[in-house]
Amino acid sequence: METLLTAERLTAGWKRPVVGPLDFALGRGEVVGLLGPNGAGKSTVLAALAGRARVFSGRLGKRPGLSIALQTQAALPADGIPLSGRELLALTGAAATGLPDWLGDRLGQRYDELSGGQRQYLSLWAILDAPADLVLLDEPTNNLDRAGSEHLAGALRTRAEHGAGVLLVSHDRDFVARVCDRVVLLAGLEN
């Protein structure tokens, strides 16, 4: 299995360190979960991998040419913008194939006219299905009902089977246990 990412004694944060030291590796075709209490720095790890947060010490190794897609918890700033669901997917290069019917039938509608759950899933899908070697997801089950979570679980496994690596941050232990091949536990910053 080709290794996409390795973190060795990684300490990351914003103005000061928030999380670490942390060791883990992620390979192609793997779904890895990051679990930890609120404030442990799970989202900061994803931000560091995507180049947004600062790496204070340790080593972060990425396969040369690694293409990363990052989904964050922030809502898309699309209120009042006439963007159809189909246009949103086209922007990131994601396909509509594989979307659940309750969303696939509404791709002609404006994004800001969809329900909260539909918006969440569509903005998530636009990243999940975008061309990338490594997909980073931050609390993807937020605002999703049971049907949405079920569909997401299947989609993550399919994405991994097609060769992508997935790193998943979630507080939903059941979802992580069902979907992930391995789990990395975060305890926050070690002094």
Binding site: R52, S67, D79, G80, P82, L83, S84, R110
Partner: protein, 262 residues
């Protein structure tokens, strides 16, 4: 009367801008930067007056001042302060323009012309520059539209892939500044601002897709411009205020709709 050479050339000069400004306004609204339009127009007017004081070409002064404002805004936006930068630049442009008009006798009439619009007094050089700039701007927007949308909706999209996105961001800032500088020289400060603000706002309130929003904004901008030009000629009134009134009329229906009128 419109097909009289005397009026046809100014009409065509403004027509290019009536296509470009609403289109540009769509992207400014997307980025929540519509106040930039007023800022660039105000600063460009001050730059033109300053150029007049030192006997430089007015359009050069307007473009340099607006370009400088775009540079300041770009640097401020790197620290998340672009909203404050617009307000400060707007105040600075207004103060500089009023001081120049007050202290330079020759600048008074030019100051009025810049704020009211002097479309009927533009010459063939304005037309050539307007057409060339509009062509350049349309090519830029076609090339970078996806990047501008993605950078707004998924700010980490390019960084996570290790792709630079600053050329699109800086290019758009300069494009906005240059377009407003040109438009201010012919349509006036408020005419240019109106064409940037109102058509996208109206079109976004009913459009079902981004593409339809763009088409609707351009269509409305051109219609409003044509109607204002004809009405100003017919009733022998200054163009800028008539354009503003036509745009206000166009903006009334969305005010009474509940959704999509932020």
């Amino acid at each position: 009367m419109l097909f009289d050479d005397l009026f046809l050339q100014p009409f065509l000069t403004g027509l290019g801008l009536a296509v470009l400004l609403p289109l540009l306004g769509c992207y400014l609204r997307l980025r929540d930067e519509w106040l930039a339009a007023l800022t660039y127009a105000q600063v460009a007017a001050a730059g033109a007056l300053a150029a007049m004081a030192v006997a430089w070409p007015l359009v050069l002064g307007a473009a340099l001042a607006a370009g400088l404002a775009a540079g300041v805004k770009h640097l401020a936006s790197l620290r998340g302060l672009h909203g404050a930068a617009y307000a400060l630049l707007l105040l600075g442009g207004w103060a500089a323009a009023v001081l120049l008009v007050s202290n330079l006798p020759a600048a008074e009439s030019m100051g009025h012309a810049l704020f009211d619009g002097q479309l009927y007094f533009t010459d063939w050089r304005h037309l050539v520059v307007s057409v060339a700039w509009t062509g350049l701007a349309l090519a830029f927007l076609r090339l970078f539209s996806r990047r501008l949308l993605l950078a707004r909706l998924y700010p980490d999209f390019f960084r996570a892939r290790g792709l630079p996105n600053w050329p699109a961001q800086l290019g758009f800032d300069l494009l906005g500044a240059g377009s407003l500088a040109l438009a201010t020289m012919s349509l006036g400060v408020m005419g240019a601002f109106g064409l940037i603000f109102v058509p996208p706002w109206v079109a976004f309130s009913w459009a079902s897709s981004w593409r339809r929003g763009l088409v609707g904004a351009v269509g409305l901008g051109v219609l409003a411009y044509g109607a204002a030009f004809a009405a100003a000629l017919e009733f022998d009134q200054p163009f800028g205020p008539i354009l503003a009134l036509v745009l206000i009329l166009a903006g009334l229906p969305p005010l009474f709709r509940r959704r999509h009128c932020a």
